[in-house]
Symmetry: C2
Subunit: 268 residues, 2 copies
């Protein structure tokens, strides 16, 4: 993949202050950044926006809003703040993760219903402000506690009744295993719903449910094929590298950026 499509998610760099992350990426001529809200740090969205703009970086997306099942108001206050921050830093979208089972409930159908309602409320706020929402289905191993939307097909169904202003974030790590992925990507493309595309790799063995993701090429995901599908479906935006990996984080941040760029060039 051409490096002019690269965005680096701040989580990939480990615990690095936003100023350092921005400087690092700008020096390496990485064109875009994908910040986590908690990584904006003490300078906040306003300060981060200035740093990012001054460095000439673009923002692929802001991570993240959602968690609609957290309370009976669909986590509204926090989600409105997330939209405001996304606008402030000029993000191309706000990435949203749905939340898992409703507090104290074992019912997936009820939780799915609450997610739909929360998403609708969030869109009422985000749509007039012009901030696109990208719903990101996560791997089924997060269904209980993080995200009960676990396939692209399910995310597309949600979009169906709720658009405009909503699309999907396709993350290789979460979706690679799904035998319906190719057809769902095609469908998402036809409806122009592909709003973000994230890459990393699935390691064998995987040692930890959260913090053992691989650099592209280290694992089993056929990323070139996936990129071709996503591109073939019409997506031409940034490709964001988001890797949670204690192994990677043990390296100096400059080294991480270099390895990400190499892997992006050869394996995505």
């Amino acid at each position: 993949m051409d490096l002019n499509r690269l965005s680096v998610n701040t989580a990939t760099l480990g615990e690095v202050p936003i100023k350092e992350a921005v400087d690092l990426l700008a020096r390496a001529q990485v064109p875009a950044i994908g910040p986590w809200r908690h990584d904006l740090g003490p300078v906040g969205a306003t300060g981060a926006a200035r740093l990012i703009r001054d460095a000439g970086l673009q923002v692929s997306g802001l991570c993240r809003g959602g968690f609609f099942t957290k309370d009976q108001y669909g986590n509204r206050g926090d989600n409105h703040r997330a939209v405001d921050e996304a606008l402030e830093i000029g993000a191309k979208c706000l990435v949203v993760v749905s939340g898992g089972l409703l507090q104290g409930s074992k019912s997936l159908p009820f939780s799915h219903e609450a997610i739909r309602n929360g998403l609708a409320l969030l869109l009422d706020y985000a749509r007039p402000l012009g901030m696109p929402i990208a719903i990101e289905p996560l791997h089924p191993m997060y269904a209980a506690d993080r995200c009960a939307i676990n396939t692209l097909g399910h995310a597309l169904e949600l979009c169906d009744g709720l658009g405009p202003g909503i699309g999907v974030a396709i993350d290789a790590y979460h979706l690679w295993w799904d035998r319906n992925l190719a057809q769902d990507i095609e469908k998402a493309g036809k409806q122009q719903l592909i709003t973000a595309y994230h890459v990393c790799d699935w390691l064998v063995p995987t040692q930890h449910l959260l913090l053992d993701r691989g650099l592209m090429g280290e694992g089993v995901i056929d990323l070139k094929n996936l990129s071709q599908m996503v591109g073939g479906a019409g997506y031409s935006g940034f490709v964001e590298v988001e890797i949670f990996s204690e192994r990677l984080w043990s390296k100096p941040p400059e080294r991480i950026v270099q390895e990400v760029m190499d892997a992006f060039t050869f394996y995505v």
Copy 2:
């Protein structure tokens, strides 16, 4: 669930010799056992068959065959031995796990094809001998290295072209998150394909991809509802409790059996 439906998988008891496992279950008046092949131990299938018969236990299923993607012969020799052992101990079915990606390949479609071929070859051997094969879809977190069949829908599709002599093993742990589960169970019932039903629970948080499963009631799976669906679809066979849990294994085996019986009565 009534205790006369209970089968205890030997993996639930930890590292216990087969004789001790059989004695424990018989003493507790558990009607059935679900042995792993490696748990048959030095007495082998012949010795275990005698122990189980003498104790008056039934065998819900033998774990396990499969791993069709291991070599170009669909792991044939080992799978034939598995069928022979299942026959010898009088198992109601041989539980089969498909295997993950083909060695050195990143192609899921090729791997699915190899699985279908391996399964067809296994059926050629098992069908005339009268040993039913139960294909068990595993959770997507095992797609790469253990099982690339990750939904009941996919397993049913495999059965479709390969029957008779094949059915599905429905395991709550692996499938609970799937929003299509209810409709697929109904479909499986209509085609009389439900050959085994396994239960345990999904813990929040889950600390380990393999060894942190919960006793029924400890986690988030709506097991009563699932049991109702499986029963409603016509399955009336044994309900096998299969729990890989280092926490559980730290307890004395008699205690494990008691806790399993209590949880089975209250939460399944």
